[in-house]
Amino acid sequence: MPLLEVRNLHVCVEGREILHGLDLTVNAGKVHAIMGPNGSGKSTLSHVITGKPGYQITAGRLLFKGEDLLAMRPDQRAAKGLFLAFQYPVEIPGVTTMNFLRTALNAQRKARGQSGYSTPHFLKKARTAAKQLNIPQSMLKRGVNVGFSGGEKKRNEILQMALFEPDLCILDEIDSGLDIDALRIVADGINAMRSPDRSMIMITHYQRLLNYVVPDVVHVMSKGRVVKSGDKQLALELEASGYAQFEDAA
């Protein structure tokens, strides 16, 4: 059974169709890259999978671990092991990162019928994960993403991913706004989490990220559909020839 199965997905925003019958299958342990020009529907796909309000699903199926995602609230999907690293992580003033992480993690655990972590256990876990990502302790005491640089915000996304240990991670332009050093730290964090049970979908415009996190499968999206799939060679081709060749295919 695939971990994620998207079949003939049609999605509208305010009456306008954005996804026109998208198909995608992600098996356990695989890293997929989705590439494509602006407006091809990449972010919409990530939002629909995770259940962001504001999208009308007019046709199609979304199965995660064989279960119908569309019947689940977004928080239930999270507890099931679905994680989205946001392209633009939001700021939450007055709520420390530590408090946020703990509230979220324990909410997920509770939904799964597990007991919440004790404070010392949680702190230890969070500090260890932060250290691996080069995140200073002081950052954990600041308001969530408040005053964080672009790189810090992205590292904070990876920190959450490391703590929550999701089964499917969707990384929406995790490489945008990162300098080369920050990109390396983020990529190391992602690679450290690769495992035979965990899958990833990386949405990106650029081949650069894929040099650090080498994908098993590369998809090209255009005009709301997956128009071509291949291995990492496909990304290199794209880098050389651009997206124009796929515009007609769509």
């Binding site: 928080d75 999270a78 946001f86 939450i92 003033p93 709520v95 408090n99």
Partner: protein
């Protein structure tokens, strides 16, 4: 945010939005005849066996009141109040004279038990962990004065406070036992000729708390008054007077609840604070009067005058309020910064949901030299509520070097509520430095989705964001009450997001 989580869990257990304090205590009470006249004033004064000067003082206030009409400048709307359709005095009928707490009517004891207010001299409030490095809670004590409708039914820790020289008792008792002290200070901050509701209160006030802290004494425990309206068609007009003598320090907290009723009930209190040289008063309020039902029916009209006088040099008065209840709130805790180098502070969280209307803020009158004040107001509007911050900062000609910093933030939840900020700033000398910052924001869908994608429920997400928004002010509350206030806030916002 452990408290937030507990709250959410508790709500999940008990179902949707429940005002937890809406029950009624069935008890016989002694009431004044309905309506307001000189006779009503005389009745109340006689009930309390008051001295002649106080009756005269009340009558003077009553006559002042007759000459005035209700203020209409606040951004609140309500039908005309029929002042002749209210009982101005209601007291539980004692079965016999009381000499100790064990003789209080068990129904009343039960009421306070249900409300979580210990009338026995217990030291610990439930569920409170000591702050890191703080004293363990077993050693922390809170003295409580419980006011039920028009009278005080119990005051705890009186003896222990007396040892420190602190007087803490119902004001009706203080009038009998310390008449000179009461006469010296009563009405000196809020005179009988003050605003409409203050005049009404001066005429008919029935009970409230009296505190006197002698020179150089640091009050050994938190003082607290718990106000409860029980009787139907009754107004509550409590009067609180706190005097911190030279170099003394006191922290005081009041809490308020009322049964759930269809009709509106009037609560017109007056609080007067006097801080002499180098004294400090910290006054905190957790106001949770019945806010009315989801259609806007019923609820308390909370028309309150609170004013502190920093009479001495280097004195300090600090107001902290968490306002979640009442159908209508009309309240502006103020500081008169008379003494040189005195300081006034106002920290406020005002939350409105449903059809609640809040018009609240502060006034900082800078009169002395080098006086300073700080205002942090956090307004949260949800449902179809209206939430207005109205604040005055003024410096008169002699207030050389006056400084004020005001931060006024509003948070909107949903798109049917409204938030307004109405600052008045008057500097009559060129050396005053007044700063005003204001922001209005909405809890955005993006922020909520971010939290929910991480596994939180909608309620948890709102609670988390709101708690972050008000954190700065919440930290100003005494620790025990910060936990309670946090729970209250989560409950108040239950069902605020559609």
């Amino acid at each position: 945010m452990v408290a937030a989580r507990e709250t959410v869990e508790r709500i999940a257990r008990t179902g949707v939005d429940q005002y937890r304090y809406g029950f009624e205590t069935l008890i016989e009470s002694d009431k004044a005849p309905k309506g307001l006249s000189e006779d009503t004033v005389r009745f109340i004064s006689a009930k309390k066996s008051e001295p002649g000067w106080l009756l005269e003082w009340r009558l003077q206030a009553y006559r002042c009141w007759l000459t005035m009409t209700e203020p209409t400048w606040a951004r609140v709307h309500y039908p005309n109040i029929d002042y002749q359709d209210i009982y101005y005095y209601a007291a539980p009928k004692p079965k016999k004279p009381l000499s100790s707490i064990d003789e209080i009517d068990p129904e009343i004891l039960k009421t306070y038990e249900k409300l979580g207010i210990p009338l026995r001299e217990v030291a610990i409030l439930e569920g409170v962990e000591p702050a890191p490095g703080g004293e363990p809670s077993a050693n922390r004590k809170i003295a409580i004065d419980a006011v039920f409708d028009s009278v005080s039914v119990a005051t705890t820790f009186k003896a222990e406070l007396k040892k420190a020289g602190v007087i803490f008792m119902p004001i009706s008792e203080a009038i009998r036992e310390y008449p000179d002290l009461v006469q010296k200070y009563l009405g000196t901050v809020v005179p009988v000729s003050d605003n409409f509701f203050a005049r009404l209160n001066s005429a008919v006030f029935s009970d409230g708390s009296f505190v006197y802290v002698p020179p150089g004494v640091r009050c050994p425990m938190e003082l607290s008054t718990y106000f409860r309206i029980n009787e139907r068609n009754t107004g509550q007009f409590e009067r609180t007077l706190i005097i911190a003598d030279k170099g003394s320090h006191v922290s005081y907290l009041e809490g308020c609840t009322a049964p759930q009723r269809d009709e509106n009930q009037l609560h017109a209190a007056v609080v007067e604070l006097v801080a002499l040289d180098d004294a400090e008063i910290k006054y905190s309020t957790v106001q949770n009067w019945y806010p009315g039902n989801s259609e806007g029916k019923g609820g308390i009209y909370n028309f309150v005058t609170k004013r502190g006088d920093c009479r001495g040099k280097h004195s300090k008065i600090s107001w902290t309020q968490v306002e979640t209840g009442s159908a209508i709130t009309w309240k502006y805790p103020s500081c008169i910064l008379r003494g040189d180098n005195s300081r006034g502070e106002f920290y406020s969280i005002a939350i409105s949901n449903g059809f609640q209307q809040v018009d609240s803020g502060t006034k900082m009158f800078h009169l002395g030299k080098n006086t300073s004040s700080r205002v942090i107001s956090k307004g949260i509007a949800a449902g179809k509520s209206r939430n207005t911050y109205r604040g005055l900062v003024s410096a008169n000609r002699n207030a050389v070097g006056a400084r004020n910093h005001t931060v006024c933030d509003s948070l909107l939840i949903g798109d049917k509520c409204g938030a307004h900020t109405v600052p008045y700033v008057e500097a009559k000398n060129s050396s005053a430095t007044f700063e005003h910052e204001a922001t209005t924001s909405k809890i955005s869908e993006d922020v909520l989705f971010y939290c929910i994608q991480r596994g939180m429920s909608q309620e948890e997400a709102v609670s988390l964001v709101v708690n972050g928004f008000i954190k700065e002010v919440l930290q100003k509350l005494p620790m025990e009450f910060a936990v309670e206030a946090q729970k209250l806030i989560s409950i108040s916002l239950e069902g605020s997001v559609g």
